[in-house]
Every structure is written in C-alpha cells, then in structure tokens.
C-alpha cells in the first residue's frame, strides 16, 4: 500500500517533464532538426528555480500566489487519478468532479495572476483561457459521464479501472467517441495546437503562454512544471481509456504498457502539433462544442 503510494506519487512528480521532452523531440524530428535533449525540461526547471525574479510594480500577492496554487491544484488532482489501472490514492464517488474543479481553480488563479499585471496582452490571454475552458468543461464532464455510465461507477478509479474491459466489450462505439472527445479536450486544456501554440511568441495569438509573460524565476518554474503535470494527467486518462480494452495482464506488464502508452500519447501530441495548423480563435469554441456533441452522442448510445 505504502509502496504503491510511493510509486504513484513519484511517477506523478517525476514523469511529467519527460512527456514535454518527448513532445518537443517529436516536433523537432518532424521539422528536420535534432531538437533538445529529452530531459531539457528538467534542466530548465532546475535553472529557473535557482534564479531570482522580477516583479512588476503593479502586481500584488495574487500574482505571487497564482503559480503555487496552480501547481498545488494540479498535483492534488493527480492524486485522484489511477495511474495504469491501479486504484488511485484518493478515490471516492464523484471524485472526477473534484479533479475538474481543481483544474479550474488553477486556471482561475493563473488568470487572476495575469490580470494582476495590468497588461493588456495578459488580460487578453486570460480572457481566452477562461472562455475556452468554460466551453471545454462540459465536454470533459460529458466524457466522464459516458465513462461512468459505461463502467457503472462514479469514481475515477472505477471508471479507469478493471471495469473498463467489460465496458469496451459492451459499448465500444460510445467509448471510442468519448475517447476522441477527451483527446480534443486534452489538447485544448494543455494549450496545444490546434487550439494554442506553446512555441509561438507572437503575443496577440497566444492563450496560455501569454498569461505567464511576467512570471520569472521559481514562479515560472512552478508554472511550467504544473503545465507538464497537467499534460501528464490528461495523457494518463486518455491512455488508460485506450488501454482499458486490453485483456487483463499482470501488474508489472500493465504498468509497462501504461508507461509506453504515455510515451505514445506524447508522440501523438507531437505529431498532431507538427502536421496541423493552429485554428483561428473563433473556430476553437466550435471544436470544443463539437467534442461536447460527440460525447453527448456517446451518452445517448449508452442510455437509449
């Protein structure tokens, strides 16, 4: 038990930056470059943590608290996730609601921190972030509702646990639709192409990155770390959903499959980013509403 907790927490704490490394590496390969080392994200974090920081005179404690609260929220939501089909550390009826709302809390404070700077660019980014997120939220919920119905449980550990196999056998189409919707939501939530471009530095077009323009030093490290952890979380859900249909195997085998799947998820994200262009901002809500419609359809399939 304790051991399992230890493994889970360490995985949650250590793996995320690697995922970012994979994504970047894949993108570099597609662009014909060699790209940064896989562990570059870790180096960046370490460097930032060692640095000082510059604070705008406009800012207040909200600006300083934002990154810490954001990271805490993402970390705690990580505790709710069953990694690789194992029971999560914290699991109860309706825990996925807490997960979604924790992510919302992080977003809320990130947006406030952005507004705290008084910069019009950051205000713009914050506006886009909260707007798109509020449209993505129901889509995410619908995916979870589909999962809940398919597996007959209301906790993440149940939804993404052993029951998933039976669910795939019974209602594969619904789960497939939900999975696609979930992937779309994951892209949006993690500020990935086609919703947002983490690499661009043209402020007018950005969403997430522009919100954190003024953060520096350890605060920026917390933000980047949190972002990678969020990517990890979504990856974990998508991968577990995809792998859930496989026949049960031993714990170690399942764990290995899960890790491999995570790597694959990062690679797919990288590929998507490389082959797609960023959508026009006005198209983003359409895409997210589309995800909602897909998952509603999936729910109808299950309830009819």
């Amino acid at each position: 038990m304790v051991l399992r907790a230890f493994f889970q927490v360490s995985l949650l704490l250590l793996a995320p930056p690697l995922l970012v490394g994979i994504v970047n590496r894949v993108k570099a390969l597609f662009a014909g470059r060699r790209g940064p080392p896989l562990l570059q994200a870790y180096y960046d974090l370490a460097k930032l943590l060692r640095k000082g920081a510059v604070f705008s005179r406009t800012t207040t404690w909200v600006f300083r608290a934002g990154p810490a609260i954001g990271l805490a929220a993402v970390f705690l939501s990580g505790l709710l996730l069953p990694l690789g089909g194992e029971r999560a550390l914290v699991s109860f009826r309706g825990d996925f609601l807490l997960l979604a709302y924790l992510l919302a809390l992080g977003r809320f404070f990130t947006a406030l921190a952005a507004l705290d700077t008084g910069s019009s660019f950051e205000g713009m980014g914050a506006a886009r972030e909260v707007s798109f997120a509020s449209i993505a939220e129901p889509a995410l919920f619908l995916c979870f509702v589909v999962l809940a119905r398919a597996t007959g449980t209301l906790s993440l550990s149940g939804m993404l646990g052993a029951g998933l196999g039976a669910a795939w056998r019974e209602s594969a189409p619904a789960l497939l639709l939900a999975g696609i919707a979930l992937f779309v939501v994951a892209l949006a939530e993690n500020a990935r192409i086609p919703v947002d471009d983490p690499n661009t530095h043209l402020e007018l077009t950005m969403i997430h990155e522009v919100m954190v323009l003024d953060h520096s030093g350890p605060d920026l490290a917390l933000i980047l770390y949190g972002a990678s952890m969020k990517l990890f979380l979504f990856g974990a859900v998508v991968v577990r959903l995809a792998l859930g249909g496989l026949p049960p195997a031993s714990a170690s085998l399942a764990g290995a499959a899960f890790l491999a799947g995570l790597g694959l998820f990062a690679a797919v994200v990288g590929v998507t980013e490389s082959v797609m262009a960023r959508l026009r901002l006005t198209r983003v809500p359409q895409m997210l509403v589309g995800a909602s419609v897909l998952s509603t359809f999936a729910l109808v399939l299950l309830l009819r």
């Binding site: 000082g52 920081a53 510059v54 406009t58 207040t60 909200v62 300083r64 990154p67 810490a68 609260i69 805490a72 929220a73 970390f75 705690l76 914290v90 109860f92 009826r93 309706g94 609601l97 807490l98 709302y101 924790l102 919302a104 809390l105 977003r107 809320f108 947006a111 406030l112 952005a114 507004l115 705290d116 008084g118 910069s119 019009s120 660019f121 205000g123 713009m124 914050a126 506006a127 886009r128 909260v130 707007s131 509020s134 449209i135 939220e137 129901p138 889509a139 919920f141 509702v145 809940a148 119905r149 007959g152 209301l154 402020e203 323009l213 030093g217 350890p218 605060d219 917390l222 309830l303």
Partner: protein, 661 residues
C-alpha cells in the same frame, strides 16, 4: 424551549429598528442597540435551529385566530430550521455592516427608516419560515415584499432605485396572487388552511397547482424568465440590503416551493424534470447575462439567478427521486440544493458587502472605472476573492461542496436501467460544469478588473480601505465559506435529516453512506489543497529570500509606457463568451472600428439590458398603456354618452334576461 428561542428571535429581529427610532437623540447608540438586537436574534435563531437539526426535533404551536384564518399556527421543522439560520444570520451581519455603511449619526431619519424595515423584513422572512398556515404564510410573504420595497428605496432620490423598487413590488404582488390562487384552491379542497392538514395531496391533476407554485415562488426566487425584477432591485438597494435580498430573501421562494412540493404525494417525474430544466436554464442564462454586465452589483444580481438555478436543479433532482422512490436521488439532490442555499447566502452576501465596500471607497460600481483596488483595499480584495472563488464552485470552498453533491446526485441517475429517460438527469452534471466554468470566467473578470491591475479612473485610484465594521462581517462570511468547504461532511447528517423529513422517507436509507464518506474526502482534499499551496508558496518565498527581486514595469511587449487605458476592460474580457450568448442577451453594442492609417479613436462597449424586462415586459406594459389610453380616448366626456351608457346597459340587460337567458 425551542419555540421560545425561535419566537423571541423573530420578535427581537422584527422590533430591532425601534431602538434606532426611539433613540434618535443618540443615533450612534440607537444603531448599535439595533445591531445588537439583530445579532442576538441571529444567535437565538441559530440555537433553535440547531436544536431542531441536531437535537430533539421541532415544535408546533396553534392558537385561535380570526375568521378567515381560524388559527395562528407556527412550527419549526427541519426544513424551516435549515433556512432559519442564514435568514437570521445574514441580516445580523448586514446590520453590523450598516454601522459604518449606513450610519444613523449621519443619515438620520433615512437610516432609522432603513433599520425599521430591515428588522421588519427579517422578521417577515422568519415568519414565512415558521408559518404553518397558508394565510399566515401569505401575510409574512407580503410584509416581506413591502418591507423589501421600502428597503430598495433606501436612497429615494435616484430614479433607478424608484423604478427598480416599483418593478420589484409589482412583481412580488403579482406573484403573491398566484400563491393566493394556489392556497385558495388547496385550502378549499382540504377545508383548512393549516399546512398540517395539507399533507398527502394527490399529485394527479395537480399540474395546474404546480404551475401556480412555480409562478408564485419562481417569481420570488428569480427563476428565468421570472427573474426580471431582480437585477434592478438588487443593484439599486444599499449594499447590505442587497446582501440580504440576494443572499436570503430569494431563498424564501425556494423554501416555499419545497414546502408546497412536500405536500404532494409522489409527484410525477415530469415535475422534477421541469424544475431541473428551469434550473438549468436559469443557471446558464443567469451567468451568461452576468458575464455581459459591467455594473458590479447588477452582475452579482444575475449570479443570484444562476445560483437559484443551481438550487432548483438540486430540488428538481430530489423531486425526480421522490417520484421514483429513490432515496439516494432525493438525499443527494436536496442536500446539495439546501447546502447551496446556505452557501449562496454566505458567499453572495459576502460579495455584495464587498461590492458595497468598493462603492463606498471608489464611489462607483462600474467595472470599467475600477481597477487596482487590491493595494488600497487589501482586506476587501481578499475577502471578495474568497467569495468569488466560492461562487465559482472552486475547492476548497463551500460552493464546490454543494455543487458536488448536486452533480453526484444527478449522476446517481445513471444507475437507472437502460431505456429509462429519467436517466438523462445525469446531464445536469455537465450543465453544472458549464455554469461553474462560466462563473469562474465571470469572476476572474470581476476580481481582475475591479481589484487587480491599475486604476482605470481617478476615483478608483483614491480608494481607501473600509472601516472595521464593514470588514468584520466579510471576514465572518469568508471564514464560514472556508469552514463549510473543509467540513461538508459535518453538515450532511443535518441535511439528511431535512431531506428525509421532507420526502417522508426513513432517515437510514436516505443518504447513501458513501456520500458522507465521499464528502469527508472532499473536505480532506480541500484541506490538503490548502496545505500544498501553502507549502509551495512558502517554498518559493524561501527560495527567493536573499535573491534579487527587482521591481519593474509590466512587460508590455516592448512598449515601455503602459497606462491604465491600455488595460483589458471587462467588456473585452467577456467578449468571447458574450458573443456566444448573443442570441439571448440581445446586447446593445457600441462599436467604432479604428479607421485609416492613423486611426484617431476606436471604441467598444456592450450594454446588456434585461431581455425579459426591457425587451418584453416593458414594451408590453407600454403597449397596454397605449391601448388603455386609446380605449379611454373613445369615451367622450359628454353627458349624453353617460346617459347612453345607462340606457344601453338597461337594454342589454333586458335583452339578456328576456331574449337570451
């Protein structure tokens, strides 16, 4: 004992304003005594409620009264006990706030009058809860409406307050007529107006009664599209009055609806689904319209519509549960709805008091003229932020706890077998998530534009922190928000008691044991979140200690002289989402694009009138007045016409009697 506590609380609250009236020579003392009376009343009322919710049970009193009523029946059962706590506590905090916000020493008679009606409205709300007789209920209901009317007009010079208060009174009265019809029909059928005799009404054929209840109580609660009176009234009233009106007065509508629905035996599932749908519509549209507002208090008022919608969703789920005999649905839906009643009372009052503080300090509540208040008003800013996070349903605060209960309740519907359409109540969860997301966006806008960044007007830059009597109630409310967020499981037994009492289901069944455990986890996670965030914040502070943290300008992407005029405005912030709600908001957009190579000016501003009031009711009323005027114009003032009317009436009645009858 319980009866003594409750009744003395009501009497004390009702008469509290008399201190200020009698001690007009010593206004400060008079107001303090008034305030003390309200606070003592709140404590007494809380004691009574606690005895009912956790202790021995309630009381019922019946005294003879005059003719049409026959009895003066009062009782305190778990449902009314639960409502009684916020209904006495919020006005008490409001009266503390009023010590600085509406001081009798400065305002004189105006303050005396406000305090009189403040006490009266509190007493009337309590009477509504305690009444065990339909007509007594109506008396409390109307006194509450009229006293509320007087309160909204606290500032009777401003035309908007006059208009808003009148719209409020008219709406309240029309709503009361619906209730009058409802009570008259039921009372006639039952042969008594005592609620005690109304138990077990057959639901068959009761759809029209349900419709009357929805109109009458929905109008008070502010369910879309009956919310039209609410934004104006809440915005125009003095802020501690807004806190009471928005925080607790609306809840009497919910209370009345629940009380009435409690009489029916096994209402059909469609009733619950209707309520759920109305709640969902109110929730989404309420927050959607709120997003487009830039008057801080109007915005908050629309959020009341949203939250009433959430509460109605909970009640709808509970109602569906009753029709199915599903104890878990009832317990979770009602517990969530009722917890949200309490929560909304807390955070909405907190927000209105914060808004009042802002108005007090900056002299305006137009978001486009605020900004940067956090530095001048650290306490207000912090407590407002707590309220904002709470109303957005974010953990670790109380809003999440209740929304979570409602969502879990709706998802319990997924356990129903395939093909049962009632299972679609599960869609309530995504709707709640959508509402929550929009609310978070809206409050990011509110807090961001009002308190953060730079001041957008000179008024805002001269703001100052409010005095302690205004801060203290906010602190209490914020602490309560956090406490409920951390320990929702402690309240669940009481909520379970209320719901079992309401639904007439045995208590052991009603709340699935797992819900209490899960609620414990919710509280635990909230505490863990606080801890983790605290540790991280501490860590980063440690890291930065001793390092260079030079202050600088905000990064303007190369532009070196940013000013407040370049800040993102509230209108712009909400623009993406407001676009999405355009079809229902029908906003008045003021937009001039920049033109030419060297554009001189550009402007973007949206104004959102209330769709129902300004686009439907107002024109309809105007049309009716015009029509009535036209009809009146047809009647000439000549005496011959008068005589002809008499003649015509005679001939018509003769024909009726002898030819047609």
């Amino acid at each position: 004992m319980t009866a003594g506590l409750a009744l003395s609380a009501v009497a004390l609250a009702t008469s509290s304003g008399l201190f200020g009236l009698l001690l007009r020579r010593r206004p400060a003392l008079g107001q303090r005594l008034t305030c003390a009376a309200m606070c003592v009343a709140a404590v007494l009322g809380a004691g009574a409620s606690a005895r009912v919710l956790w202790g021995s049970g309630g009381f019922a009193i019946r005294l003879p009264w005059h003719e049409p009523l026959a009895s003066l029946a009062l009782r305190l059962d778990p449902l009314s006990a639960l409502f009684l706590v916020p209904i006495l506590a919020v006005p008490a905090l409001g009266s503390i706030y009023g010590l600085s916000y509406w001081p009798q020493a400065e305002l004189g008679w105006k303050a005396v009058r406000l305090q009189l009606f403040f006490g009266l409205v509190t007493g009337a709300m309590a009477l509504v809860l305690l009444a065990d007789n339909a007509l007594l209920f109506l008396v409390g209901w109307e006194v509450m409406a009229v006293a509320g009317f007087a309160l909204v007009r606290g500032d009777d010079e401003r035309p908007e307050a006059l208009r808003a208060s009148w719209v409020y009174l008219a709406a309240a009265h029309v709503g009361a007529f619906a209730l009058l019809a409802l009570f008259s029909i039921v009372g006639g059928a039952r042969g008594s107006f005592d609620f005690a005799e109304w138990k077990g009404l057959p639901a068959a054929g009761g759809a029209s009664l349900y419709a009357l209840a929805l109109v009458g109580f929905g109008l008070k609660a502010g369910l879309v599209p009956l919310h039209f009176w609410l934004p104006g009234a809440h915005a125009a009233a003095p802020s501690h009055v807004s806190a009471v009106m928005s925080g607790v007065l609306l809840k009497t509508g919910i209370y009345g609806l629940l009380r009435t629905l409690g009489f029916f035996d096994a209402p059909p599932a469609s009733w619950g689904l209707v309520l759920l749908a109305l709640g969902a519509i109110s929730g989404v549209l309420g927050v959607g319209v709120a997003l487009a507002q830039h008057d801080l208090k109007r915005l908050l008022a629309y959020h009341s519509v949203e939250n009433i919608g959430i509460i109605a969703m909970g009640a709808g789920i509970a109602l569906v549960g009753r029709s199915r005999g599903d104890a878990a649905l009832v317990a979770l839906g009602l517990a969530g709805g009722l917890l949200h009643v309490v929560n909304h009372a807390l955070f909405k009052s907190l927000l209105f008091l914060g808004a009042g503080s802002v108005q007090h300090a900056a002299g305006t509540r137009d978001l486009e003229h605020l900004g940067g208040l956090a530095r001048a008003m650290p306490f207000t800013s912090f407590f407002f932020l707590v309220g904002a996070a709470a109303i957005s349903g974010l953990p670790p605060l109380n809003g999440f706890a209740s929304e979570w209960l409602i969502a879990v309740g709706s998802l319990t519907g997924l356990d129903l077998p395939r093909g049962d359409r009632v299972a679609y109540v599960a869609l309530a969860a995504p709707v709640l998530a959508f509402i929550g997301g929009l609310a978070a966006a809206c409050f990011a806008k509110v807090h961001g534009t009002a308190f953060l960044g730079n001041a957008r007007s000179s008024k805002a830059s001269r703001a100052h922190e409010s005095p302690a009597p205004m801060i203290f109630p906010m602190a209490v409310l914020a602490a309560a928000c956090l406490a409920i967020g951390l320990g929702p499981s402690l309240l669940l037994p009481a909520l379970a008691r209320v719901s079992s009492d309401w639904a007439g289901l045995p208590a052991s069944q009603t709340l699935a044991a797992s819900a209490v455990g899960s609620a414990g986890w919710v509280g635990g996670m909230a505490a863990a979140l606080l801890l983790a965030a605290g540790l991280l914040a501490l860590g980063r502070t440690r890291l930065l200690r001793g390092r260079a943290t030079p202050p600088g300008e905000t990064w303007g992407c190369g532009y070196s002289a940013p000013s407040a005029r370049m800040e993102y405005t509230g209108s712009s912030f909400a623009q993406i989402l407001v676009e999405g709600f355009r079809w229902v908001l029908l906003p008045r957009v003021e937009l001039s694009h920049p033109r030419g190579l060297f554009p001189r000016s550009a402007r973007f501003r949206t104004d959102v009138p209330d769709v129902v009031l300004d686009r439907a009711i107002e024109p309809a009323v105007q049309a009716c007045e015009t029509a009535a005027r036209g009809l009146r114009g047809l009647a000439p003032g000549r005496i011959h016409f008068y005589a002809v009317l008499v003649l015509a009436a005679l001939v018509a009645l003769l024909c009726w009697r002898f030819l047609w009858w």
